[in-house]
């Protein structure tokens, strides 16, 4: 269309300071916490930092320390959810052929019923799909008084009789933990009883952690203990990988599945978007694990590596550049000429559409400013897409991250284990002598390791602009102040924040459920994101807000 040369901004070393009009970042920070009681202010001060980076002589970066994965102060209006939401909603929710029974009063089961837009596509009508269903024991007061195990077992039996699923998973809610129902014992008994149905439970009571993150960990443990490794026959296919931490929000996984197929890469399983029991059970046969959402699933990557041998790399399929880079990294791992060629051909075929879309929106998006407060990885990965259309992320933070998501995995040894983390089981994983395979046959494994090829996640801060504002567990109050002071062009958050942000005249893009859009993964997804953001930051609505007589 356009005869102009394609203008791709070079934002590889974002270093522009955070300066906003006359305000300094310190002033902004002060304003965010000014109204808090002293104790809350002290705590929040450690969770709000400026991204001041020092480059060391060896080229490495020293990043500021941020406090993360600590309790939300009571009374603060937070973005966070609970352990149950992380376990049942995030990890297990997108799995289509497991009957997920919420053991508790009706609310938790109701609210986690299909609200995250996890899509799934069974190959035929004969394949199971329980995603449109919500199962609950709907505990009544007599179950709280006399215990709910009997009702739970009856519910499992009824679910089995009606649906004959391959697996039934049970999720404990707050009151269940409190009254002491032994959900694991109940499941073991029912598993013996039902014979051909895998039955297991998660102690994911909402109060267990400081955010949904605890639930991810509990779910990871459960999937690893009860499903991974169950299929002993090696699946067919070359270049076998798992994609971890991809939840098929808005159909992302469909884009990626197609991409891998075109490149000749065998995707054994996705944890857990568009996933099935069979995929989990065969996932240990993968030669490489590719981790998308570092926060929610690094546990599984580590455990598979220890027990079965496959190493893992951090990938990102959000953003065109990131997608190309991640695909090339997978090809580099397998070091196969044919695969490399297919990957390069795929990138070459897909990229023109990306450049065309970029060129089209750039005149309207370049220089605009975004804020991202989502997820435990998304606030990082989506910055790639904004960069590609010339937008700056001036403030970002996670809802349920740990320090390593900000500062990189090198801080893992420095993270203090407090009472709220200690109550989440750390599985002791040992090498499976029968199924363990030496990672990768090719000889340059050692050289890959030397080049820091594996497990090298650097965290969000390393990628972000100098003096950008980093806020962990942002509260409603802080978000509102931040918007008022900095007037971003777009704010990315979830449904709870969406309408308050929009009342301020700033468009809000949901990045947990993608509200009206998506998929955003891969090259096609990037194009869709550019277009959606263009529409949002250039909507005429904001010009209509003031009446002509005002």
């Amino acid at each position: 269309m356009s005869s102009k040369p394609i203008h791709t901004p070079d934002l590889s070393t974002p270093s522009e300071p955070f300066a906003v009009e006359a305000l300094t970042a310190d002033q902004i920070k002060g304003e965010l916490t000014r109204q808090y009681p002293a104790k809350v202010k002290r705590k929040r001060d450690k969770q709000i930092v400026l991204n001041e980076k020092t480059k060391n002589q060896d080229g490495s970066l020293t990043l500021p320390v941020i406090n993360a994965n600590t309790r939300t102060s009571p009374g603060i209006i937070t973005q966070r959810g609970c352990t149950y939401a992380g376990c049942k909603g995030v990890i297990m929710g997108p799995t289509r052929d497991i009957i997920n029974i919420t053991h508790g009063p009706i609310g938790c089961g109701f609210y986690s019923w299909l609200t995250r837009r996890n899509q799934t596509k069974p190959p035929t009508e004969e394949h199971d799909n329980y995603i449109p269903y919500s199962f609950s024991t709907d505990m009544q007061d007599e179950n709280i008084i006399f215990g709910g195990e009997k009702k739970l077992k009856a519910a499992i039996q009824e679910a089995y009789d009606m649906f004959h699923p391959k697996a039934i998973a049970v999720f404990a809610t707050c009151p269940v933990g409190l009254i002491g129902d032994d959900v694991h014992q109940a499941c073991r008994e029912m598993k013996r009883e039902l014979v051909d149905c895998n039955v297991f439970a998660f102690s994911c009571e909402g109060y267990k952690g400081v955010s949904q993150s605890a639930g991810h960990h509990i779910a990871n443990n459960g999937v690893f203990q009860h499903m991974v490794g169950n299929q002993t026959k090696e699946p067919k296919g070359k270049f076998k990988i798992n994609l971890l931490g991809e939840y098929n929000i808005g159909g992302d996984a469909f884009v990626l599945e197609e991409m891998f197929e075109k490149c000749g890469i065998t995707l054994l399983s996705t944890f857990s978007g568009n996933s099935t029991v069979e995929q989990f059970e065969r996932s240990h046969w993968a030669e490489l694990n590719c981790v998308m959402c570092h926060r929610s699933i690094n546990y599984v990557a580590d455990m598979i590596e220890k027990k079965y041998g496959a190493p893992w790399i951090k990938v990102n399929f959000i953003g065109a550049k990131a997608t190309a880079k991640s695909l090339r990294k997978i090809a580099e791992f397998f070091n196969d000429a044919d695969l490399t060629e297919r990957v390069e051909n795929f990138i070459t075929a897909e990229y023109p559409a990306v450049l065309k879309a970029q060129a089209e929106v750039l005149p309207r998006t370049e220089g605009k400013r975004a804020m991202l407060f989502v997820g435990g990885s998304r606030a990082h990965s989506y910055q790639e897409l904004f960069k590609e259309i010339g937008m700056k992320t001036i403030a970002a933070g996670y809802e349920f991250a740990h320090r390593d998501d900000y500062e990189g995995r090198k801080v893992l040894p420095d993270i203090k284990v407090d009472a709220d983390s200690r109550n989440i089981e750390e599985l002791t994983v040992e090498r499976d002598e029968k199924l363990y395979r030496e990672p990768k046959t090719n000889a340059d494994l050692e050289s890959l390791q030397k080049r820091d090829f594996f497990e090298n996640y650097q965290g969000m801060m390393a990628d972000m602009g100098e003096k950008a504002m980093i806020i962990d567990d942002v509260s409603h109050h802080e978000a509102e102040k931040l918007i008022e002071m900095c007037q971003p062009d777009i704010f990315c958050a979830g449904i709870k924040e969406k309408y308050a942000v929009q009342k301020l005249g700033v468009p809000c893009k949901q990045l947990h459920s993608y509200d009206y859009g998506g998929p955003y993964a891969g090259f096609q997804g990037a194009v869709r994101f550019y277009q959606d953001i263009d529409r949002m930051v250039n909507s005429k609505v904001k010009d209509m807000i003031k009446a002509p007589w005002e």
């Binding site: 009571p74 009571e205 109060y207 979830g494």
Partner: protein
């Protein structure tokens, strides 16, 4: 392919498993009701996930911010009780968010622990965490009792318990209390409009109009202009009467007000449809000297005219309905008045009174209706019934869209929650004008269907 492919018409009695519930839990109702108090911040005493889920669902339904704080319980609070959390929360809330009222409701967790909210609130006052002139109210909302409608009723009753005051034995003749029940903000607005047209001073509580349908101004106000003020809530004790719309959601508050301040109460069905609105106007007449302005009579007349124009399409059409008991009773009445045939009516909300009231509405004229309430009166059950014998129309919340698609039956979205359509917060279905809108929606569904299915030779321009 069928979305609900595992649902068969084989109705097996279940005792323990609920599949696709037609209800949710108490606290969300308490949160919605609390948002209907001016300058009130709802507070969820329990784990933060509950608050998160409730705020999300309310935001998705009303397309508006639904602000609420939480006690953010962790494991320690579950063992040692939530007092420390609530004290800290109240201190923070009044420092940062400056509400006039904090409306605390419990969750199944804090309820099971047995936290004593009034005692903790008193302690907060003693510690100086609650500024002069501000207050903390509460209600108990264990999720394992009742449903979201019970929570709405409990918080509405708390407004009476905490605020209603009788200053004299003489009541103010033209002042009446309206408890609108769980309806859209637009319905509350429509109900208020009718009261005003009847020349009465109405105090509506809770009142989410103006709160969950606030204008876009480029300024965010955590407490929009709407909602019942504390002064109004206090003044409810001096009103000549209370009209409680819907016995489940509004009855307990009206009764409490009668006991506390001797304000006589009238419990009516929600004014959805012609006859329920008639009852509402008739009751208002008791307080305004019997006058009905000509404009209201004309509104009614227009509705009847519309029904008369549409009736050939409505006659004998069968309907499956699910949702909240108060809504279902009025909707069923209206469908019967339109000569339609409600066939399956279910609500997850437990309580036998519902069966009796539906029975009264259906009378002897409507045969072969299946009505069910309680845990196993769920969306799986109603789908099984539909598979056994089809209906022409579905009326219920968003969760019916899977049945609608699988069975190719049109769905009118009504009730809570509606997550996939926009505008219901602005367009009422209550009152005569609301009934006209309902009729339009139903007829459009039938006629769109007829157009879609018509063979070319009988595709009509004039219908």
């Amino acid at each position: 392919m069928a979305l609900l492919r595992h649902t068969t018409d084989d109705v097996v009695e279940r005792q323990a498993l609920t599949v696709n519930p037609a209800k949710t839990c108490q606290p969300i109702g308490a949160m919605y009701a609390a948002l209907g108090i001016n300058r009130c911040l709802p507070h969820s005493h329990g784990s933060q996930g509950c608050c998160s889920y409730h705020r999300s669902t309310l935001s998705r339904h009303y397309k508006e911010p639904a602000m609420a704080a939480t006690s953010s319980f962790t494991e320690g609070s579950s063992v040692f009780g939530g007092q420390a959390n609530l004290l800290q929360a109240l201190n923070t809330i009044f420092s940062v968010y400056d509400p006039d009222v904090v409306a605390v409701h419990t969750t199944c967790l804090s309820e099971t622990i047995g936290d004593d909210i009034p005692q903790i609130a008193d302690a907060a006052v003693a510690k100086g965490f609650v500024p002069e002139g501000k207050c903390v109210i509460h209600c108990n909302t264990p999720s394992y009792v009742g449903s979201h409608t019970t929570g709405f009723a409990n918080m509405t009753k708390a407004m009476v318990d905490y605020f209603s005051t009788s200053t004299s034995e003489d009541k103010i003749a033209d002042q009446i209390n309206i408890i609108p029940g769980w309806v859209e903000p637009a319905d509350m607005g429509e109900i208020k409009r009718l009261v005003k047209m009847m020349s009465l001073k109405g105090i509506t509580f809770p009142d989410t109009s103006g709160v969950l349908d606030a204008p876009l101004t480029a300024e965010y106000n955590m407490y929009p202009k709407g909602g019942a003020t504390i002064e109004q809530l206090e003044a409810t004790g001096d009103s000549a009467g209370t009209i409680a719309l819907g016995p489940i959601c509004s009855g307990p508050a009206a009764e409490a007000l009668q006991n506390k301040c001797q304000v006589p109460q009238n419990t009516l069905p929600l004014p959805i449809g012609l006859r329920a609105t008639d009852m509402f106007i008739q009751t208002l007449r008791k307080y305004n000297g019997g006058n009905v302005p000509a404009e209201i009579t004309a509104e009614r007349g227009r509705l009847v005219d519309l029904v008369s124009d549409m009736s050939q399409y409505f006659y004998g059409k069968t309907v499956a309905l699910w949702g909240d008991p108060d809504q279902l009773v009025s909707l069923t009445q209206f469908l019967v008045d339109l000569d339609m045939r409600p066939k399956y009516i279910i609500t997850g909300t437990p309580g036998k009174a519902f069966l009796r009231r539906i029975g009264e509405v259906l009378g002897d004229g409507v045969k072969d209706v299946i009505v069910k309430q309680g845990a196993q009166a769920d969306m799986l059950y109603i789908h099984q019934l539909i598979k056994r014998e089809r209906v022409d129309l579905l009326i219920g919340n968003t969760y019916g869209k899977y049945i609608s698609r699988d069975e190719d039956i049109p769905l009118i979205r009504h009730g809570f929650p509606i997550l996939d359509r926009i505008g219901h917060q602005y367009f009422p279905t209550a009152g005569y004008r609301g009934a006209m809108r309902l009729c339009e929606k139903i007829l459009d569904a039938f006629l769109d269907r007829q157009d879609r299915d018509a063979p070319e030779e009988s595709f009509e321009l004039t219908m």
